[in-house]
């Protein structure tokens, strides 16, 4: 009987070449989506990731439909363009004046989710042979990440990360005191569109590379943990990025170590961070009396 191969950290590092693309992609996506998740959670848009995935699905389905049934070719029949147009439209709807109130925005998220899901199903019945392709274009797997996808994630995360460091004060003002920011002449609409646009772009690309479950988790759970232990939003952004990165990398290792699905391991690790942060917060409150 052959002994079980060792599954400790040393063995993991020994086989690093095999794992480096998904681990790096998970770490960067966790950091980026984790950071942006602070705005997602504080603006009460936790179902944004799900709604965007569904509307992206409709965009891809419509692109296939146009290509197969209407004979569109080139850019017009591109599933990538279809997904980008659908997610951008949803994001713009969410920054419209009518969507500023929490309940309105919540309803719009539900609308986008349902319209995307039902629309994809309806269009899917007309392009049955392509439905599998829609799934593979939309939802990647955190287990295997292609080098090209890793480059795309890095190419997105680097400029967006820098932009968010640079414009962070503007984003925070526009998000939490829009009237005050307008009175002081800040370009609130531009800041809002840029923020929601960058969230939409990050979520749609990361979902395509890593899959829906871990990206949904990264967009909510690291922010939840960070907001429990941070004294202000600036600190919460940094902590959330760190927790997201730790979940991306740590979740992959735990999946390998205990033979678990990668996305689920990353998600459960993020849940553990939330539990830890809650305990720390309660301890601090108890000490403060």
């Amino acid at each position: 009987m052959t002994p079980e191969p060792s599954r400790d950290l040393a063995a993991f590092l020994d086989a690093w070449e095999l794992f480096q693309a998904p681990v790096i992609a998970g770490t960067i996506a966790g950091a980026l989506v984790g950071l942006l998740g602070v705005y997602v959670v504080l603006r009460r848009m936790v179902f944004l990731a799900g709604a965007l995935s569904q509307t992206a699905g409709l965009g891809v389905a419509l692109a296939f439909y146009g290509r197969i049934r209407l004979g569109l070719d080139g850019l017009l029949g591109s599933p990538t363009l279809g997904a980008a147009l659908a997610t951008t439209t949803t994001a713009l709807l969410l920054v419209g004046r009518r969507a500023q109130q929490g309940t309105q925005r919540d309803s719009l998220l539900g609308l986008a989710w349902l319209a995307g899901a039902a629309g994809t199903l309806v269009v899917g019945t007309r392009i049955v042979q392509e439905v599998q392709d829609i799934q593979s274009i939309l939802f990647g797997s955190a287990v295997v990440v292609l080098d090209d996808d890793l480059v795309r994630v890095i190419g997105l995360a680097l400029p967006l990360g820098l932009l968010h460091l640079w414009w962070q004060r503007g984003f925070v003002q526009a998000a939490f005191d829009a009237d005050g920011a307008r009175v002081r002449g800040l370009p609130v609409w531009l800041l809002d569109v840029t923020l929601i646009g960058s969230i939409a772009l990050s979520i749609s690309l990361c979902t395509r590379v890593l899959g829906a479950l871990p990206v949904f988790a990264f967009s909510v759970l690291p922010a939840m943990a960070a907001l429990r232990v941070s004294p202000n939003i600036e600190r919460a952004l940094v902590v959330a990025a760190g927790v997201g990165a730790a979940c991306g990398a740590g979740g992959y290792y735990l999946a390998w170590r205990f033979d678990l699905p990668v996305g689920a391991a990353q998600t459960l690790l993020a849940v553990a961070f939330v539990a830890l942060a809650t305990a720390v917060e309660r301890g601090a409150l108890r000490r403060a009396g």
Binding site: V41, L42, W166, W167, R169, G170, V172, Q173, F176, D177, D179, G180, A181, R182, V183, R184, G185, L186, P187, L227, S230, P231, N232, I233, E234, R235, A236
Partner: protein
């Protein structure tokens, strides 16, 4: 800033929504050292006027000029932070520093530490600078919001019902603070308020709005407070206005002594 310099000028300003005017046109000018109180019953258009003056709601017609370079410091009724948003008082005040595109200057908060500290000292909020904003009392929150409005060193301070959640003692203290800041910084002040008693000793000018009668009055408080409709609703609450020599007992019978009085067209 020069004493008596104009800060905000409204000329035949019509306020309303979707191109529909709520009230007759208004003309007035706010200057350094003046405190203008916008008063009227619920639904009279006070908040619409305030939001129009702040460019948060588009005006229906007429002119509105912001004069001077120091800009406006805005104190909202409340900052809509829920318990889950971590923000220390000092972060709330720092949030008021940026104007226009200054958020692109990454080093501005470091360079403006003295401004933030000064605003917090003047509003007596330094002692709880590190405390979470949501844990403060309403009076303390308003002082922090005033510090936030002062952080960008404005020439005009605009307050939207700043004392609506306070008891009488806290309200008195809040307006004492506004007066102190006005003198110390040479500010013009525009305030929307419900409780006239606390304004009677302080407001140099009034804008009185009455949507039911389609009446607007704007001018020195003594003159506006003598108007028949004002007296009918509020009595002789402005002591310095003296006994009534106001005209008419009903809002459709006014004449035009003193303040700007304009009827619907």
């Amino acid at each position: 800033m020069t004493a008596n310099a104009p800060l905000l000028r409204a000329h035949a300003l019509r306020i309303g929504y979707i191109g529909r005017a709520l009230l007759p046109p208004l003309t007035f000018e706010v200057r350094v050292g003046e405190m203008w109180a916008i008063i009227g019953r619920n639904g009279s258009g006070k908040t619409t006027l305030l939001r129009t003056l702040l460019d948060l709601t588009p005006r229906v017609d007429g002119g509105l000029e912001r004069l001077g370079v120091r800009g406006i410091g805005y104190v909202p009724q409340r900052l809509g932070l829920d318990l889950g948003v971590p923000m220390r008082c000092v972060d709330v005040v720092r949030g008021g520093l940026d104007r226009g595109w200054s958020f692109l200057d990454a080093l501005r908060p470091l360079r403006s530490r003295a401004q933030v500290e000064q605003a917090m000292r003047e509003t007596d909020t330094l002692a709880f600078a590190e405390r979470q904003f949501v844990t403060l009392s309403e009076g303390q929150k308003q002082r922090v919001l005033m510090a936030r409005a002062l952080a960008c060193e404005p020439g005009l301070l605009v307050l939207d019902e700043p004392t609506s959640a306070m008891d009488a003692v806290a309200e008195e203290a809040a307006f004492d603070l506004v007066e102190k800041l006005q003198r110390a910084r040479g500010l013009g002040v525009v305030v929307v308020a419900h409780h006239l008693a606390v304004l009677a000793r302080r407001a140099t000018h009034l804008v009185y709005l009455d949507a039911d009668c389609g009446l607007v009055l704007a001018g020195p408080s003594g003159e506006v407070a003598r108007h028949a409709t004002f007296v009918e609703h509020y009595g002789h609450i402005f002591d310095h206005a003296g006994p009534s020599d106001a005209h008419g007992g009903h809002c459709d019978e006014h004449d035009h002594h003193g303040p700007t009085t304009e009827h619907p067209r």
